[in-house]
Each structure stands twice: as structure tokens, then as C-alpha cells.
Amino acid sequence: MARRRADTELAEKALPVRLRAALRLGEWRAPGGGNGWRNGRDGRRDSGVGGFGSQALPVPTSQLALWLLLATVTMAFSMMVTAYVVRSGLPDWQSFPKPRILWLNTGLLVLSSAALERAKRSVELGDAKRLRPSLMAGGILGALFVLGQLAAWRLMSQSGLTLQANPSTSFFYLLTAVHGAHVLGGLVAWVRTWRTARGRGYTSDDHLGLDLCAVYWHFLLLVWLVLFALIGLA
């Protein structure tokens, strides 16, 4: 037991005393009166418990979390877009006519974002009547967007523009698939928002969940507009 207790004692010095003295180990002394670091021991320089840096950022935590997620998603799309732009600039790029339904789908997504924005504004203004129809419209239009994208895929593969046909089609399917998957994720968030709206309800003071859902929605619209422009130009 005595030996084991020694393990826990801090004074477990492995070097003999004279060697320690010769190497002048342990001679460092904490400077009195503070060592210049503002967060050190000197009470006069203690920044106390307030001030910048000792508190959380002045945003709701879930908003911060969403922006971090958007940063991650932005990186993913940036990688794909960069690869797409570089590849499409090479001489052997075989462009193909994009299905017209993509314009309809774009319109659906724009309307969907507008509906969610309307829902958000109505809550801010205290107009509860418009919340539910706008929120419902936003979700339905988003779902229609996904169906429209699937329809575009169908049209393309029927005319021979399959996933494997050439790099141009491969990138098209890749970009729209990853974007569509994120829209589906947004629909999951939309379901939760809808259930909250129906449950405890959103008020003009408490509508963070709705706001975040709308932010995510608008982000995906922005991503789609960039993709759509690049797909159209390539």
C-alpha cells in the first residue's frame, strides 16, 4: 500500500537530489505581482467575469449551429462546383440540352422560399392567420421541387442521357442528387417546424425554429440558382 500511495504523490521525482540541483531544476519561480498576462493571478488585472470573450456569442446557439452546418454544406458544394467548372472547360466536354422542366422546378423552389419567408414575416407581425397556409405551401412546393427533379431525371434517361453516358450527364446527376438530398433533409426540418406550429405554436417573440428553417431553405435556393446557372451555361 505504501508503494502505491507514492504513485499518487506529486513528489515522484525520478532524479537524485544533487542532479536536480546541478541542473537547477525547479528553480523557475512564478513572478510576483503578475507576469503580464491579463488573465493571470493579479487581481487588479483580472478581467472579471464579464466582458468580451467570457460570454457566449450574442446569437442563439441553434442559429450558430445552423451557420456551421451551412459552412460545411457550402464546402461540399464548392468542391463539386469547382470540379464541374474545371471539367466543363476541357475540350472534350459534351454539352446536352437541359430539360425544360428545370425552369419549372426552379420556379417551384423560388415560390417555396417565398412562402416560408411569408410565414416568417407573418409570425413577426403577429399575424397568426397567415402562418399555417404559408408554412404548408412552403413544404408542399419544396416536395414538388424534388418530384420535379426526379421527373427531369426520368426525361433525361429516357432520351439516352443516363448517369453513365458522359461526364457532362454524370455531373448533372451528381449535382442535382446531392442538392435534392439536402432538400429532403430540409423537408424533415420542415415537418418538425410544422409540428411545432401546430403544437405549442410560434409567437412574435418565439419563432427561432421557423426562422432557421427559412434560412436553410433560402440557402438551398441560393445553391440551386448557382447550380442551375452553371448547368445552363456549361
Binding site: 499518487t8 498576462w37 467575469v49 446557439t61 456551421l68 464546402m75
Partner: protein, 616 residues
């Protein structure tokens, strides 16, 4: 705050009542005492307590580490004794090599450092009750677990796991019969990686928001211990770097399973022109390394933070240059995103890219060097306690310095030309990742084991573990540097057909293999120490290392659910106030109120004249 001299009484009071009375101003995620989970399943399996999740991550990651180590033994069997063991043949040699690399880097080191250390220490070091999103935290572990299952299932599928190297370069990794495991193995690997990336993203979101939002009163960013800084910055890097691998993995999966040609150029396989064309293998390399380089810094940054805390605690000195240490970590994190193509110097890209990336790679050595000097300056004239954690911390500094210096060779595009894909590279990355990262990690385990379990690990076994690992690792990887100079290529099953490789290389390989098994035995000893001490080890004091960190101030050890009892702690100082008094405890925990410290005790010189400072 009134000027008050901090007396011994204050220190003892702070120690006995570890946290001042203070109202919880932050989002109350846990009302103390009312969140006790009920059943076995919700307490130990689907727990949302960050400490349980951390242990789940750690145990899974350490088991995967054992598997990765066993795979390395297979490689050493073949390299030391070529053709002697029927269990190793060319195909499964490459599979063992690939899986060893992927498992160690991703499923062991990343998971253990972020998921294990990050989950356990962040709330405790910040004075929080748990992570910002406990449910997401739990989900992140189970997604990691599923990714491990998928990976292991890939070992058993037709064709076995991928043998394309952990970098999975196409077209070899996806063309049929071009390498082992192109049939199903590569697909399971990519699926597993995608799941891991999802888990890492969930975890990263949690760590970053927790560090930014859930610090307790008085815990400014510049009062956080460097362990938290390392993990925090690594989490931010994770969020920004992993998407590149995710995108690449999706594209490679399509190339493998759906006949696309993102990465496959016009190519003939075994003399037959394939129908695929239009892709570029370089695209994969850019995507992979844009992830891959930040990934290795994701591994080393938490370790650097941990080592800073170990070195300061066990030297009884504040970390030298705390502010520079923080900025160095930030600089490394930022720069790590602009060095990736130093893995591609010999890929045939424009030489001016080599010029640019050489510069950025050499520049990133500067903050790493600053940190090394600061560790050494922390040790300088410190009151060194050569405990097992300290030994590992010093071992880290040694191996990181040597391994890092070999990186300077490789960072130069010109010198990389003859060294690329030789054993010099293998020696380099093992020294920095396989040895020094593990040294820091082991040091952290020995250091915080008493916190997690309330018991001490056996110090004798710990010292054997350290010396065998330290000397053994140098014995394994230093010869590889010389093999690399001689031009011995990596990822080769055998060398007997190459006249430029001298027979002495075979002798060296025998030596390396034997050293590997000695080091391996030491790891088994460590595992036994862990398992035994967790249940039968000697009970530890509340703060056996006399550390000033906040994590040691919980009311009980191991910490209770909710960590802090009724009141959250209030922080008044940084976690490095050491060597302040000559008698008794010489440190001030972070919770001790600020005030000028009385220099009322005799100096150490007086003690030396009187016949030696306490031999202990």
C-alpha cells in the same frame, strides 16, 4: 473585485468547495438532479451524457486500434520474412496495408481524439454540464459505430476489403481486378467513410457550439486550456475539410458501382481498352488531399493541446507563451488548408504548383516549431515530475521534432522527387502520427484516467509501456528513413527483384519486424493495465497531479451526471497558475478568486542551502 491577498485558506476553501455560488445564466440543458436516466439502456447504451459517449468512442476506437495493429503485424511478417508465412500473400498484403492505414488514421486516432477526449474533456474543462446537443452527440457515436460495422462487413464480402492503399487512388481502386477488393470492398469502405463523415460533422457541430456558447462564467476564450483550443480548432477543420472527402467518396462510389467516369480516363486494363473515358485521376487526388492534409492536423492539434497541458502540469509551470501557443494552433489550422498538393508533387502537375506548395508547406513548419520551443521552454528549469504522463509528453516532443524535421525534406518538391513513395515517407508519417500522436494520446490517458475512473493506472507498467514504445518506435521507424534514402519503395510486397536494393535492406526489415512485435507486446500490456486498473486499480485522490485545470474541480470523481452539482463553477484565472507557494500545494485552481498572491514563503534557494529541496 476588491484587492485581496489570496491566502492558503482561500486555496483550501476553493479546493474543498470547488465552485463558488453562482447562478446558471446559460441555457439550462440539465436541471441538476432531475435528469437521472433510468434503465440500463438509457444509462449505458443510449446515454446522452457526454462522459458515457466519450467512453463509448474511446473503447471502440481503441479496439479498432488493436485491429489496426494486428494488421500491421501481418505486414511485418511478410516484410521481415518474405514468403515465409502462407497467411500473407500479395492480395491480402495490400488489403492489410490499406485497412491498417484507414483504420488507424480515421477510425482510431480521429475518433479517439475528437470523440473520446473531446467529448469527455470539453464540458468539464469549460465548466459546462454537457455538450450543447446531447442527443446529437449520442447519435454521432452510433453513426460512428455503424460506420465501423460497415467497414468490418467489408472484410467479409466477396473479394474482400479494398487493397488500393488508404488513399484509394482511382483508377486502380475501382477497375475490376486492378487491385484487391474492387468488387465490393471499395464500396463498403466508401459507404463506411461517408457514415463516418456524417458522424464527424455531427460531432464537430457539437464541439464548436459548446466551446463558443457553454463556457461557464469567467471562462474567457483565453482562459481555456490548450487541450480545448486544440480540439476546438480541430473540430472547425473537420467541418471544413471532411466535405471534400465526402464528395470524392460519392463520386468514387459512382465510378465503382454505376459506371460513371469521374476519375477514370481512357484506359486499357490487361491489354483491353475499357469502355470508360473522360475522367481524371488527378481530380480524386485533389479532393482526397484537400481532406487528407487537414485531417492529419485534425489528429495532431488535439494532441498538441493535450501535451501542452501535460507539460505544464507535470513541470509545475505555466505553459510558456500561452498566447503564442493559441495563435500557433490557429495558424496551423488555417495553413493546413493550403498545403495539400505537397502530396502530389510527383503527379505530373505544373511545376509552379510545386513551387507554391513548397513555400506554404515550409511556412507551416514555423508555428509548429514555435510550439516545440515553447514546450521546451516550459520544461526549462521546471519542477519536473517524471510521472508516466510526463514521460509520454516528453516522448511526444522528441518524436514530433524528429518526425517533423523529416517532413521538411518531403515538403521540398525537389527533394520529394526521389523520396516520394519510398520508406522515407512511411518513416515520416509514422513518426508524427503513429508515434508522436500516440505518445500524446497515451500521456493523456494516463493523466486523465484518475479523473474518469477514480483510480490510478499502474505506474510501473506505465513506465515499461513508455520505454518500450519510445525506444521501440525509434527502432522501427528510424531505419525506415534510411531505407527510403536507399530508394526502397513503399507499398511493395517484396523487393527480391530489384538489384538496386542491397541485401542489408532485408536485415533491416527483420530488425524492424522484431521491434514491431516488442512494441506490440507493450501495447498489450497497456491494454491489460487499462482493463485491470479501471476496476482494481488503487483509488486516486481527487486531484492526484495537482492540476490547476477546471476539470479536476468536480464535486466527486468520477464526475456525477451534470458534472458540477447544484452550482456551476465560476472562473477567475487561467489554468496554469503553478509554483506559487513553496509549502503544501503550489498551484491555484481556476476557480480561486483573483487577487495578488502573497510571496510570504521562503524561496527555493533557501531550501537548497538547507540541504536539498525535498526529495519526496
Amino acid at each position: 473585485m476588491a484587492d485581496q491577498t489570496v491566502t492558503r485558506g482561500d486555496v483550501e476553501q476553493a479546493r474543498d468547495e470547488p465552485h463558488a455560488a453562482h447562478q446558471e445564466g446559460h441555457e439550462p440543458h440539465h436541471v441538476p438532479g432531475s435528469h437521472e436516466p433510468g434503465s440500463f439502456w438509457s444509462r449505458y447504451v443510449f446515454s446522452q451524457d457526454h462522459k458515457v459517449i466519450a467512453l463509448q468512442y474511446s473503447i471502440t476506437a481503441l479496439l479498432m486500434g488493436g485491429l489496426g495493429m494486428a494488421l500491421s503485424w501481418m505486414l511485418r511478417l511478410q516484410l521481415g520474412f518474405p514468403g515465409s508465412f502462407e497467411v500473407v500473400h500479395p492480395a491480402n498484403y495490400y488489403q492489410a496495408l490499406t485497412q491498417h492505414g484507414m483504420i488507424m488514421i480515421v477510425y482510431t486516432l480521429t475518433a479517439l481524439l475528437l470523440g473520446g477526449f473531446g467529448n469527455y474533456l470539453i464540458p468539464l474543462m469549460l465548466g459546462a454540464r454537457d455538450m450543447a446537443y446531447p442527443f446529437l452527440n449520442m447519435a454521432s457515436y452510433w453513426v460512428y459505430f455503424i460506420s465501423v460495422v460497415v467497414l468490418l462487413v467489408g472484410f467479409a464480402v466477396p473479394g474482400g476489403p479494398s487493397g488500393a492503399g488508404w488513399t484509394l487512388y482511382p483508377p486502380l481502386s475501382v477497375l475490376p481486378n486492378a487491385s484487391p477488393g474492387t468488387e465490393w470492398g471499395i464500396r463498403f469502405m466508401l459507404l463506411s467513410l461517408a457514415l463516418f463523415i456524417a458522424s464527424a460533422t455531427m460531432g464537430g457541430l457539437n464541439y464548436v457550439t459548446t466551446v463558443l456558447q457553454l463556457r461557464t462564467r469567467g471562462m474567457t476564450l483565453m482562459r481555456m486550456p490548450l487541450t480545448v483550443w486544440g480540439i476546438f480548432l480541430a473540430a472547425i477543420m473537420t467541418l471544413l475539410a471532411f466535405p471534400a472527402l465526402f464528395v470524392g467518396a460519392v463520386m468514387l462510389l459512382l465510378d465503382s458501382a454505376a459506371g460513371t467516369s469521374f476519375f477514370i480516363p481512357r484506359v486499357a486494363l490487361f491489354g483491353e481498352q475499357l469502355a470508360r473515358e473522360g475522367g481524371n485521376p488527378l481530380l480524386w487526388q485533389h479532393l482526397f488531399w484537400y481532406f487528407g492534409h487537414p485531417e492529419v492536423y485534425v489528429v495532431i492539434l488535439p494532441v498538441m493541446g493535450i501535451v501542452s497541458d501535460l507539460v505544464s502540469t507535470h513541470s509545475r509551470k505555466p505553459i510558456f507563451g500561452y498566447r503564442m501557443m493559441v495563435w500557433s494552433l490557429i495558424t496551423i489550422a488555417v495553413l493546413s488548408f493550403v498545403v495539400w498538393a505537397h502530396h502530389m508533387y510527383t503527379s505530373g502537375m505544373n511545376p509552379y504548383f510545386g513551387f507554391f506548395f513548397t513555400i506554404s508547406t515550409l511556412v507551416i513548419a514555423i508555428p509548429s516549431a514555435i510550439k516545440t520551443y515553447n514546450w521546451l521552454l516550459t520544461l526549462w528549469r521546471g519542477n519536473l515530475q517524471l510521472t508516466v504522463p510526463m514521460l509520454f509528453a516528453i516522448g511526444f516532443i522528441s518524436t514530433f521534432a524528429i518526425g517533423g524535421l523529416t517532413g521538411l525534406f518531403l515538403g521540398n518538391a525537389l527533394i520529394d522527387a526521389p523520396l516520394h513513395d519510398t520508406y522515407f515517407v512511411v518513416g515520416h508519417f509514422h513518426l508524427v502520427m503513429g508515434v508522436s500522436a500516440l505518445m500524446g494520446l497515451f500521456g493523456g490517458i494516463y493523466h486523465w484516467f484518475p479523473k474518469v475512473t477514480g483510480r490510478m493506472l499502474n505506474a510501473t507498467l506505465g513506465k515499461i509501456h513508455f520505454w518500450a514504445s519510445f525506444v521501440g518506435a525509434y527502432a522501427i521507424f528510424t531505419p525506415m528513413l534510411f531505407l527510403g534514402f536507399a530508394g526502397v519503395p513503399r507499398r511493395y510486397y517484396a523487393f527480391d527483384l530489384y538489384q538496386f536494393i542491397p541485401p542489408s535492406a532485408d536485415t533491416v526489415n527483420v530488425f524492424i519486424s522484431v521491434a514491431t512485435w516488442v512494441v506490440g507486446a507493450a501495447q498489450i500490456l497497456f491494454a491489460a493495465n487499462l482493463a485491470w486498473s479501471a476496476f482494481r486499480g488503487p483509488r486516486a485522490e481527487r486531484n492526484p497531479w495537482k492540476s490547476a485545470g477546471l476539470e479536476w474541480q468536480t464535486p466527486t470523481t468520477p464526475p456525477p451526471h451534470g458534472n458540477w452539482g447544484a452550482e456551476l463553477p465560476e472562473v477567475h484565472r487561467w489554468p496554469y497558475d503553478y509554483s506559487l507557494f513553496d509549502e503544501g500545494d503550489d498551484y491555484l485552481p481556476q476557480t480561486v478568486p483573483a487577487g495578488p498572491v502573497a510571496a510570504s514563503t521562503p524561496s527555493i534557494h533557501d531550501g537548497a542551502q538547507k540541504g536539498g529541496h525535498g526529495a519526496g
